[in-house]
Amino acid sequence: MTATAAQARAPTFFDEVVQATPGGPIHLELCLQCGTCGGSCPSGPDMDHTPRALFAMISAGMREKVLSSNTPWYCVSCYYCMVRCPQEIHITDLMYTLKRMAIKEGFYRKSSAAGAPGFSQTFIDYVENYGRSFELGLATRYHLSHHPLDTVKMATFGLGMFRRGRVDLAPKRIKRVDELKAILAKAKEIGGEE
């Protein structure tokens, strides 16, 4: 039957999440709530909601609760869930989408992993400006701004790294940083991100 759609349905939270995830089809609508993902997740016990529970909440349109959950921030990208899911749902990719949405809409601040985006943001600041990651800068900036009291402990660790010649004191830089910056700026423009 060809559909003469009366009115296009407004996208739901579910639709938004799926559409914002590249590499489709994502198959999220096929979720049987079997729990394999929640059962496989190495950090599952420490998440507010298991991945499965999160998907049920997404289906139910619980936007704020989902984006304030610490679940995506505790995802370690091990891909066990994605490989074992009987419906071949791109779970890990969905977690990345939820991270992005949580940051964009500010809900991450409500989660118990409020510091996590700061780590990623600090990381990419270096990548965007130098073309390479810079661990010393990342560790120092992140810990100073999020766990200043831990900086002493980190300093001991850092010293251990330094003594073994495993840390750069200055960031490395690629030759054509401007080329990279132009590419990334264009990508953000097309992708609607800033």
Binding site: A20, P22, G23, G24, P42, S43, D46, W73, Y74, V76, S77, C78, Y79, Y80, M82, V83, T92, Y96, T97, K99, R100, I103, A113, G115, P117, F119, S120, Q121, F123, I124, V127, G131, R132, S133, E135, A139, F157, G160, M161, R164, G165, R166, V167, D168, K172, I174, K175, R176, E179, L180, A182, I183, L184, A185, K186, A187, K188, I190, G191, E193
Partner: protein, 322 residues
């Protein structure tokens, strides 16, 4: 054999030992690497948490740069599992999603670059050494077999999961590294958590979770009497090695399991000097374990396999064992 080569940020300093040993052993095996000119960071697991399209463009710049180089057999080799995953995932999604490819190429054009999906085959360093060079060619170069060393082959996640192009082993129970270690003469310890996750960047997000994940792996390898854990990824090496002490403090345990790169063990088997392979850069000293190489283990000490009793039910037959 010529390949494009993408070192990744870690190999510059943090995992310099991996770089040193990889370069040292690939040469005698006839592998020639063409480093991608002006390569940039792959974004690890961080960039994609903030930006969607930019994350793919970031990775695609490297694919585009690699395409411009000749003499790489249309293959791009990454020694770091995370870089390997990012490169192969981008390649796979770009090949299967024309919309994504179009957007990414629009972005690349702003930098005067272009990538045609399907042009490159992304592979991990372990894959090309074992599957392209082959066990026989490796065995020929061995002068100091690692006899007496009990090695736990640790894969981590991103080298075997998910099944994007470039995957070459079972996602749950891989055996490539085990077989390589056997070829090198080591006694391979078949520990069940060999493909479990090391925790990635969790050390920065939640220490209890991170240390627990590290603890599971170290404990399991130690329970199976491994002398040493061998890895294929700088992140895994860092987590299991540099944080082993903190993990011990957290769990009040006293593990001292050294973590080395598989290329370092290959180098040792090839008779190369330890310091030329970056050995000594680990937090948990590898030298006591390495001292076991070449020492005959007396019969009583070797763990005996219990003979099944008469009442025992037969075990199911398994296909070729690793």
């Amino acid at each position: 054999m010529k390949y494009g080569y993408y070192p990744g940020c870690s190999l510059e300093r943090n995992a310099r030992a991996y770089h040193q040993s990889a370069m040292a052993v690939t040469k005698p095996l006839g592998i020639e690497f063409k480093v991608v000119d002006d390569w940039n960071c792959c974004g690890a697991t961080e960039y994609i948490a903030i930006n969607r399209l930019a994350a793919y463009a970031l990775v695609a710049r490297n694919l585009a740069l690699a395409t411009k180089q000749a003499d790489n057999g249309h293959q791009l080799v990454a020694p770091c599992s995370a870089c390997f995953l990012n490169l192969s995932k981008a390649e796979y999604y770009l090949s299967n999603s024309p919309d994504l490819a179009a957007d990414v190429n629009l972005a690349l054009e702003a930098g005067g670059l272009h990538y045609t999906p399907g042009h490159l085959r992304v592979r991990h360093l372990l894959d090309i050494i074992v599957n392209d060079v082959g066990h026989d060619a490796i065995a020929e170069k061995i002068t100091n077999p690692l006899k007496g060393l009990r090695v736990a082959a640790y894969y981590g996640c991103l080298i075997v999961r998910p099944a994007y192009q470039g995957v070459f082993d079972d996602p749950e129970y891989p055996i490539t590294l085990d077989k390589l270690m056997k070829t090198l003469g080591a006694e391979v310890v078949d520990f069940p958590l060999k493909a479990n996750c090391c925790g990635g960047h969790m050390t920065q997000i939640s220490e209890p979770v991170a240390f627990d994940m590290i603890h599971r792996i170290i404990k399991n390898a130690a329970d199976y009497q491994a002398d040493i854990i061998v890895t294929v990824c700088p992140m895994c090496q860092l987590n299991l090695d540099a944080y082993q002490d903190a993990m011990n403090k957290f769990f009040k345990t006293d593990y001292h399991v050294p973590i080395l790169y598989f290329t370092q063990l290959i180098g040792l088997a090839f008779g190369m000097a330890a310091k030329d392979l970056g050995i000594g850069k680990e937090f948990v000293d590898a030298r006591p374990a390495l001292a076991k190489i070449g020492i005959e283990v007396p019969e009583e000490e070797a763990p005996k396999k219990k003979k099944p009793s008469k009442e025992a039910l037969p075990m199911p037959s398994m296909p070729e064992e690793g």
